[in-house]
Structure formats: C-alpha cells, structure tokens
Symmetry: C2
Subunit: 418 residues, 2 copies
C-alpha cells in the first residue's frame, strides 16, 4: 500500500469514527479517558522502554539536552500525563450546549448548538506527552484526531497510540477515533494536507518553518501562530514598581516561549526614572539589551538596535527597547511590528488603559499583567491545544470550546416560506 | 503600474483603513451608511445610465434573460438597496460587545470582546445591488472590504464604488474602507488571493466553479459553500398534510437556490399513502421525479434515478426520491450524500425528531419546517453575506456577528506568572 493510500485510508476511518464520536455521551468519553489514564499507569515500563529507543537514537544523533529533555517520558512526565487526563475528565463537555435560542415571528424556534469540528489533524514537535494531551482534548470535544508527532518520538508515539486505542475499545469507542501516523516521513504530512474531503482542520505546532510549510501546503483550514512578538508599553502613568515586576517576569521567567516579551516600549517621560532600575535588574539576569538611540543615550552600555531587532522573536534573553513620546507612538509601533499574539500596557491612567485595550489588534491584550498569561490554562479555558493568531474561528488560545463549532437547530410546526 | 502592484496597493490601503474603521463608533458608521443611502437616491439617474452600459453589453453578448434581470438596477432594485442600507443602520453593532467575562483565582479579570475581522475580500456574481449590500455589512461590522464583482457589472460597480467612497468621506471615514477592484480581469482575483499579509478572509459567492477556483488558489482562509444538496426525510410518524406542504415549498417555491430540496427520503411505511398525493402535486408544478426502484414500483411514471442523481444539486424542477426502511437508513443516506448545508425531518415522533437534530451534521437542521429557511434574514441574523458549510469560524448563514471574532481582554493589578 502506498503512503498516499495509507494516509487516505486513515483519514476515511477517522471521518467514519468522527460520526460516532460526535454523539457519544460525556460519560462514555470520560470512561475512555479514564481507561487511558489506567493504561499509562499500568504500562509505564513498556512506555519507558519504547521511549528509551527514541532517546538513545536522539542522543546518538547529537540532539541538544533541551531537546532530549522534551523527548523524555520520565516518571514525572507520565504522572503529569495521567493528571492531564484527569483534568480533561473534570472539564465540562462543550458538545450539545445550546448557546442561544430565539423565537421568530412565524413561530420557528431557532437555536445554535455546539457540535464537534469533525476530524482534526494535529502536527507537532517531538514531545510524546503532547500525543496524549492532544488526543484527550480532541476526544472530549467529540472529534476524531490524526496525530503526527516529530519523527524523533516515533517509538514513544506508537506505543502510546496502541495503549490509547485499547483504552478506547474498552470504553466502546472506535480505536480509529485517535490515530497516530505510523511513519516518520514528512511526505505523510503532505498527503494529509490534501485530504479536505475527510479532515476539517489542521493545527500545527512547533517551529515557524514547519508551520509555514503546513500553511502553504494545506487545502484544509489551518489554525496556527507563526510567532509571538509580544510588546509591553510602560506608560508615563505606570506604577514603576509594578512595571519592573511585570517586565522582568515577561522577559526572564521563561524566555524561550511565545508569550515572553520581545520588545519593551517606554514612555519618554518615565524613561529617565525607569531605565536605570529596570536595566540593572535585566543585567543581573543576563538579559542582553538592544535599544533605540534615545535608550542608548540614557544608558551607554545598551547595544544599538538594528532595524531587524524590531518585530523579532528572540526566544532568548535578548530584549529590544524603544523610548516613545506617547501612547500614539506605542500603538503605531505595535501595529507595525506585532504578531497579533499578546501585548500589554502598564499604566494607572484609566483612559489610556481603555484605549490600549480597544485599539491593539492582538489575541490577548492586557493591562497591568504579564504577557506570560496568554495561555489557555492561565486564562481559564481549562486546557489548551494551541494559540491561533489568525482571526478566523478562534483568535488566541484554543481550549475545548474552540475545538467545536455551532450548527443551527430549528423547531418548526409546519412553517414554509412565502 | 502592474496589476499585481495595483491590487497589492489596494490591499495595503484596506489594511490601513481597517485599523481606523475598527474603532469607529456606531454613530459614525451609521452616518456613513445614511450618506450612502442618500447618494443612491440622489444619483439614481447616473447609476442607471452606467448600469445601462452593462445591460447593453450583456444583451449584445446574448446573456439569458435571468442574467440580465439580476444585472439590472431598476427603480425597484435601487429602492431595495436603499432600504437594505436602512436595515443595516437599524441592526445592532456587534463590535465591542464583551460576550463573557470571568475572574481568575489570581484576581485577573478576563473577558472576550468582539472585534472586526479586519480586511474582507468579497468575490461575487454580476449583481451590482450586492456591491452595496456587502459593503454595508462589512462597514457596520467594522471591517474594510475589497469587492470584486462579476465582470459584466463593471460600470455599475464602479459608479457605486465612487458614490460610496464620497459618502464615506462625508462621514469622516476613509474612502479606502470600501474598494471595488476596477478591472474585469480574473488575474486580479489571483493576485488578491495571495495577499495574506493584508487580507484576513475571503468570501466567494457564485457558481461552484468560481468557488473551487478561489478555494484552490487562496492563501487566505475562505468561507464558502460549494453547493446545497438539501434533503427532507418524511418519517413514518409525519403529518402527511404538513409533509406535503413543506416538501412542495422546499422544491417548488424557488428551485434555483441553494436551500431548495434536491432529494426527498420517504419512510417505507408511509410511502404508499404519501407518494400518490405528493407526486400528483409535484407533477402539476412541472417537477420531474427520479426515483429509486421502490419509488418506481409505486409510481410507474417516475424515471429511474441513476447513481449521479443522489447528492446532485439540480437547481431546477427536478427531484430525486428514495424510499428508506427507517430513520437509520435516512441518516446514512444523508451522511453519505449531503453537502452539510440544510436537512429537515417531518415527523410527530419526539425521539426521532431529537435524534435527527442531534445526528445530522449540517449547518441548519430543521424539524417540521422547509429547508428554504436556511437564510440569515429568515433565521433572525438580520442580514446575510453568505452561507458557510465548512466547520471553521461560522457554520451556516453569516450575518454581522459572523464578520467579527473575539479577542481576550485582561484587567490586571500587577499579576505575574509564578
């Protein structure tokens, strides 16, 4: 069987499974998730033995330690996967909810009801714990899922796939509701992206290169973000203690993630007071600063920023800093350089806080809080399968509800159109 | 200036305008719509003179009467356009509404707020009244729009574009918020579909060929439906008088539209009673019937259906008819052949009505009402820019709210992540 035929057959089976999964009760879905959790507990040794094959291969190929760390299913990671399944069991089931209903003048009762999307294609990095997390979210939201993890995690993903399949069958759910593509070839992704007759949505996660490749090759709608170039604007009316705490957290707490701050904008009126204390704190933490000429004028140790530094996602302890004359200039800079991901203002001024919230076109806009809060769990969605910075369907972090859509249901009593 | 450069420049200007339109008050948007309505009234002769050029050219090229009719801006059509603008003025502004807001344990107040999509590309048939209708919906929902109508309507669209631009400027809105592509070349569409840096969404309307062309060539997300293959299932517990009325309306009232019935499924238990009266009524109206063998056995005048008749959108007085043993078989047929557009059941049985509503995967699912109600106006959305049968963003008819998305707004007091 050719790879194309194999992927097509998986997609067809996923579509057939989706029809069944869409109408499962929450009870049955939760039983399947609980069976998965038991399987992870009971088959811990088997899982770790398969995972060890992936780790050994990655070590031999000289992958960096951080990569090996993300690949490793330690006891702690498996415990977190089990807890993750329990968390998803405890989340409310979004399917079936009628979000609104109204009566028309002709007596028709019209409502919008939440339904699953159908078949989700999920393409992600070499983190085998994500295989279970993503499967759980897709199943709980009534969708079938086809998973394609990074090639370095293939042994881990295949054993997890087999265990999840067995757990599904135990609960009376077709095993084809959760499928892992059993090959490491990238061509498998290309084939999957053509199957718009069977797959409703593609969610890619990982590096910008992979995501661009998916977006450019997909006939299926893609929910994605390329990068997070997050800005914080410290306004002239900022509480400078608060500004220092927030900016430090946003840059330093976890610099390698998409919701970390990449550019700091400072109102000129507070720059002389704010720059010395803030930069001292950043330097202590090893942050490299690259500034506009005004910033350099205030602090000669700051490296002059180049044109490429604005709108750049460093994902590292590097920060671009610009001093701006007013809110207007900050908004203009953000409109030009932001990735529509996350931006924050620090201010005690009511009108400027409102204006920032209103005018910044990003998926999460914050007043007096760290950009690091753009996360489904932190914002209260219960969980997160990814963050979307395109405006379609779900702008921002996507939890269970964002894996559903609504259809119109209409209760009539013989109405016809005149 | 090359065509590609010209289209890119229009898209850049639209994106700049979108930033301004997004934050306009409802009052200003309504003033612009009112100015458009006045311009249509006052410049009726000018509009009709330009429209006459399109009509004459179309007549000379031998277009059919129905085509010329859709192209013609008669007094009646212009009156309807003016009324349409007034209707949009009267619709509530969706922008800015906070659809929900909650407090997190750390004190953060998190809400979802409706915002415009940004720049909409709207590609449509040679119906110049749609130029104004679509512009009004996009403007009221805070979006900029680039309009590309059918080439036969170019003179009409250009004069309407000029008048709308003047009306926008009168109200203090940039004229570039509503732009008509001033060329008839299809290459202009190809260029537009590449500009995913500036255009957020493409809505194509028209024949299946155009829509497939757009979907296959677009880097920008597309909201669309290819066709409406609508089914009605007459259950064994149907009120047969009601079934006859609904089926007749769904097939005959306007057979050329996407929400007309294309396939009738009849429960075997009521077929002997229902077929004679229903078919007599259809024949009186000139409907050609194509049936499964059981249908032909009940009525020898029925033409045997071929495999191609199932799932076919006739858009004409032709109907495929199948007798099925039970609801299960009806659901299977619909799952195999429907276009996810609109399906209805006629029944007095509670459990089967609920099951049909629950299991049919279409954008509008009705009990005891005509499929013809799949329409934004009829369902109570106030207006409609199109119908989407993909699951993303808005499944079904799209009104003003469906031209928006939500962003997260977060009110903090210094929170950081631990």
């Amino acid at each position: 069987m050719s790879l194309a035929t194999q992927i097509r057959q998986m997609a067809q089976e996923a579509k057939a499974a989706a029809r069944q999964v869409a109408v499962l009760s929450s009870t049955v879905k939760n039983q399947a998730l609980a069976a998965m959790a038991r399987a992870l507990e009971e088959q811990r040794q088997l899982i770790q033995a398969e995972n060890q094959k992936d780790i050994a291969a990655a070590q031999q190929q000289g992958y960096p330690a951080a990569f090996i760390d993300r690949l490793t299913l330690s006891d702690k990671v498996i415990n977190a996967m089990v807890q993750g399944l329990q968390d998803v069991i405890n989340l409310p089931d979004p399917v079936g909810a009628v979000t609104s209903m109204w009566r028309r003048p002709n007596g028709l009762l019209v409502g919008r009801q939440r339904i699953p999307l159908g078949v989700i294609g999920f393409i992600y990095e070499s983190r085998p714990n994500v295989t279970v997390d993503a499967a759980a979210l897709c199943l709980k939201s009534g969708n079938a899922v086809i998973l394609k993890g990074g090639k370095e995690a293939i042994h881990s993903n295949l054993v997890l796939s087999r265990l999840m399949g067995e757990a599904l069958v135990q609960a009376g759910v077709p095993a084809t509701a959760v499928q892992v593509i059993p090959t490491t070839e990238r061509e498998a992704v290309v084939e999957l992206l053509k199957l718009d007759d069977y797959v409703d949505i593609i969610i890619p996660r990982g590096g910008e290169g992979l995501i661009r490749f998916v977006a450019e090759n997909s006939r299926i709608p893609v929910l994605k973000h390329y990068k997070g170039v997050c800005h914080i604007f410290v306004d002239e009316a900022a509480d400078l203690d608060m500004a220092e705490t927030i900016c430090f957290n946003a840059k330093v707490q976890r610099p390698g993630v998409c919701n970390a701050m990449e550019t700091l904008l400072i109102h000129a009126a507070v720059a002389p007071a704010f720059v010395p204390r803030m930069f001292a704190r950043f330097r202590e933490a090893g942050v490299e600063l690259r500034g506009c000429p005004q910033t350099v004028a205030l602090d000669a140790q700051v490296k002059p920023a180049t044109a490429e530094d604005w709108g750049y996602e460093f994902l590292d302890l590097i920060l671009a800093v610009k001093i701006v004359p007013d809110l207007e200039a900050a908004l203009d800079h953000i409109a030009q350089y932001s990735s529509n991901h996350t931006e924050a203002i620090v201010t005690q001024n009511y009108a400027r806080a409102q204006r920032f919230l209103n005018e910044v076109d990003s998926s999460v806009v914050l007043v007096n809080a760290s950009t690091r809060f753009n996360d489904g769990g932190e914002l209260g969605l219960g969980a997160e399968i990814g963050i979307n910075t395109s405006k379609l369907h779900a702008f921002g972090p996507m939890g269970l509800e964002e894996l559903t859509t609504t259809k119109f249901i209409v209760f009539g009593s013989g109405q016809i159109r005149g």
